[in-house]
Symmetry: C2
Subunit: 490 residues, 2 copies
């Protein structure tokens, strides 16, 4: 992609002065290497060949190759040509840096939120603050784990993951209309790692995958790491636009659709029964597999339709974890799928993690889920979040934000900015005040959410957040440009 | 590969009777689907086209397609042709089952050992029994973790992983001549997951990777999951055969070499300084990257040469974990590499696991490594293992096994079976007696170790192991065939 763009551009400017023609060739090669169209060890085109295809003189190509060699990006092997040197960069992951300057890409929120200073406020992050989570129960579970049998303390455990935890999850799922045995469940290190295993099982580079537009930004990062093409299904408050879903399925013959059906991230939408049936029908017609990430399902006041339950795990895989409800520090997630797929996923997990969810983590999660406190914790959490969504929503509306929908649960509010405001500019500016926001485009495969923002209502008690929003909104922000800290707004 | 083989075979037998010609076509297609040369949604060749290329009649192809359709493997779309149905199997991972019948493939030992009955003996497994590990210290560390700050109990932690643990590791590495800062270290969920991230960063499907022959079987499984070609470097007691390494590097231009340099798995070989320098020189000449898995380094009486230390992390990445020395249940490993690679690996880890090593696991490992008990534990473990290697070695030699080398540390002994005995047959037979062995070919990319076996000296106190070995060796085992439990030996 990058390389193609560079080549086109090269063709355009080949009438320019010698110096810039050389730059053009240098940039064309650099672009191809950055895009991994050329990788370490690949031979570069012959000098005459490239000169002809770019419409420049051979001497221009020679000069360009010499400049690239001086940078160590390529090296000449006498007699055998010019080769790309060892400089493999991951593709198509964007070049990354932890700093504010990094692009507003799918990693922007993760990196800013995970690596924020201890003092930072993180209304853009996707998790609850410790004081909203059952820390006393976690301490009790750790003290109980300290008394576990020796094997739980030291062994890898089974390749399926803890049987008691899988049995408990199977009982939970049965209560939601998904009647499966523990052999249809594989424990993983996280929901993300579960989705990664599923992608490794079902996808090949170049496949097309449908996601919601907007969707959880890390779906975009993960699918990019799998080198697949992504098409976005517009979201409605009742779930994905089923008509567009059907069109895109016919148009792209995607192998997979990845979604959150219970309290959609970032929008807070809930799947309606009618939409669920249309999605499943289209998936069946076009032989697609669906991954339903249910990480927010326990935040629902009452369960919404579940693709996995309606489909009975025929073509739907369900993934989830306990990072939002209990602890993100105890790494444990799961995949529920057809036992024949679980069987293949077990091997993939051994190959890539040897054993993903350790017995200790599984024992801690099992203890937290089975003690009666979990239900009380979630009831209290839902009440507290419902109040927080109301209060924060009103305060955002007072600042001129518009709620896209009123979510029935969870901690995210998806809001449109006041007229003319740019979410990326606001996020960059807020970062200077130690406030990490989640600008809409990180969630949007079509980059169509530049005027939207996702807010985590549980992370907005710090008044710095509100002053950063107020000052960021006051002037029409210069689109895309981070405002300089000390210069007065234009 | 599989598909090609099938096609060749098809060409050979096209003069046979109609029925078997149809089988031939069916097997050819089945092979291509199994080999993922054809995947869900792909269109099958036209009937006339395939008939011509296989030298059979169109009606034979029609019958074959109908049979495959009846199996649900393909489906015809009126007007548009015949397509592969949704049956994506992971490739090139072998089809798997937890049962004894499964092939002696790189997953054989992992699955048999991880999923063995509680009562089974596992001299084939690659870890220590709980009673050899510091369970009391782990219990103390868990009780201390129960008093940790709230963020450690519930947060994802930084995308780099716990800074205190990275600082501690950096100090350890400095003591081994590898002078790096904590920013050159990324915490992962395990050594395997660290290697997986490195492969994702540096490899593309179709690349060639060098491994040792024999090597840790899961290197083979992981590289297969990355769809790369593997070439094996013969091992010597002083490390890989440097001359062959150099030849293979020139011949295959591999991107990566993956090895254990400290107490090689499975052979117990130790890298000599001379070999280390020749390997690094060849890697530099051919622009290869090296991954040095040091999971057994703390088992060495004194450190052997380290590629990472000699190279200063220029082209070597070091990975490791605490699964062999402390606990495999607390999932925590690391990658030490150039900071620019670590930066890209952090994004890859976010994309594929969001956060791999949770703060709790890192805090537990940090506590176990920093309390003075760790040195005492490892000193005692090395003494105990040294005695066990002597005792088990003598007993194996009494049964007719030959030690390939005398390892200077660790718990593995790599042994050749008595004349004429087949390791796979012995392993299958022992499994019937509840004894999990590690037959040589699971470690060998060239399948050249069919008469070798890896023994874990810490897992052989159960007399059933010895009686299974004795009875398995008594008769010349029928090569490759599992001996039937009740039938007398031939």
């Amino acid at each position: 992609m990058a390389s193609a763009a560079h080549t086109v551009w090269a063709r355009k400017v080949d009438k320019k002065a010698m110096g810039s023609r050389t730059n053009t060739v240098v940039e064309a090669i650099r672009g191809r290497i950055a895009a991994r169209a050329l990788v370490a060890g690949d031979r570069l085109p012959s000098i005459r060949g490239l000169a002809a295809s770019l419409g420049v003189s051979p001497s221009t190509v020679v000069e360009a190759y010499e400049r690239l060699a001086a940078e160590g990006l390529v090296r000449a092997r006498p007699g055998s040509g010019v080769f790309v040197a060892r400089t493999a960069a991951p593709l198509p992951l964007p070049a990354s840096s932890g700093h504010a300057e990094r692009a507003i890409d799918p990693f922007w929120v993760s990196r800013q939120a995970l690596d924020a200073d201890p003092g930072a406020s993180k209304p853009g992050c996707g998790w609850l603050p410790p004081e909203w989570l059952p820390t006393d129960a976690i301490r009790r579970a750790l003290r109980k784990a300290a008394r576990a049998d020796e094997a739980t303390l030291t062994d890898y455990g089974s390749s399926h993951g803890s049987l008691p935890l899988r049995r408990l999850l199977a009982r939970q799922f049965a209560g939601e209309g998904l009647d499966i045995g523990p052999d249809a469940i594989l424990l993983t290190a996280s929901g993300t790692q579960g989705l990664d295993l599923v992608c490794r099982l079902l996808l090949r580079p170049g496949d097309t995958v449908l996601v919601d537009d907007p969707c959880y930004f890390n779906f975009r990062a993960l699918l990019a790491a799998h080198r697949v093409a992504v098409a976005g299904v517009p979201m409605t408050p009742a779930g994905p636009d089923a008509a567009r879903f059907t069109e895109l399925a016919a148009q792209h013959r995607p192998r997979l659709y990845v979604t959150n059906s219970a309290i959609h991230n970032p929008t807070g939408a809930s799947l309606s029964p009618a939409v669920a049936h249309r999605i499943l029908a289209a998936a069946s017609q076009h032989e697609m597999t669906i991954v339903e990430d249910e990480i927010f399902s326990d935040f629902e006041p009452e369960p919404s339709p579940r693709l996995a339950a309606l489909d009975g795990l025929e073509r739907v895989l369900r993934i989830g974890s306990f990072s939002k409800t209990l602890s993100a520090s105890v790494r444990c997630g799961f995949i529920a799928a057809r036992p024949d797929w679980i069987e293949a996923l077990r091997d993939l997990q051994i190959a890539t993690s040897f054993s993903a969810a350790g017995p200790l983590g599984a024992a801690i999660v099992h203890e937290l889920l089975s003690e009666g406190g979990y239900r009380r914790h979630m009831d209290a959490l839902r009440r507290r979040l419902s109040q927080a969504r109301r209060d924060v929503g009103e305060r955002l509306e007072a600042l001129g934000f518009t709620l896209w929908t009123v979510p029935r649960g969870g901690f995210n509010l998806w809001c449109e900015l006041p007229e003319g405001r740019d979410a990326a500019a606001l996020a960059r500016r807020a970062l200077e005040d130690g406030v990490v926001l989640a600008p809409g485009d990180v969630f949007s495969p079509s980059h169509g959410a530049g005027t939207f923002m996702r807010f985590n209502v549980a992370q907005m008690s710090d008044e710095r957040v509100w002053s950063a929003l107020a000052s960021g909104l006051a002037p029409p922000a210069a689109s895309g440009q981070p405002a300089a800290r000390c210069s007065p707004p234009p």
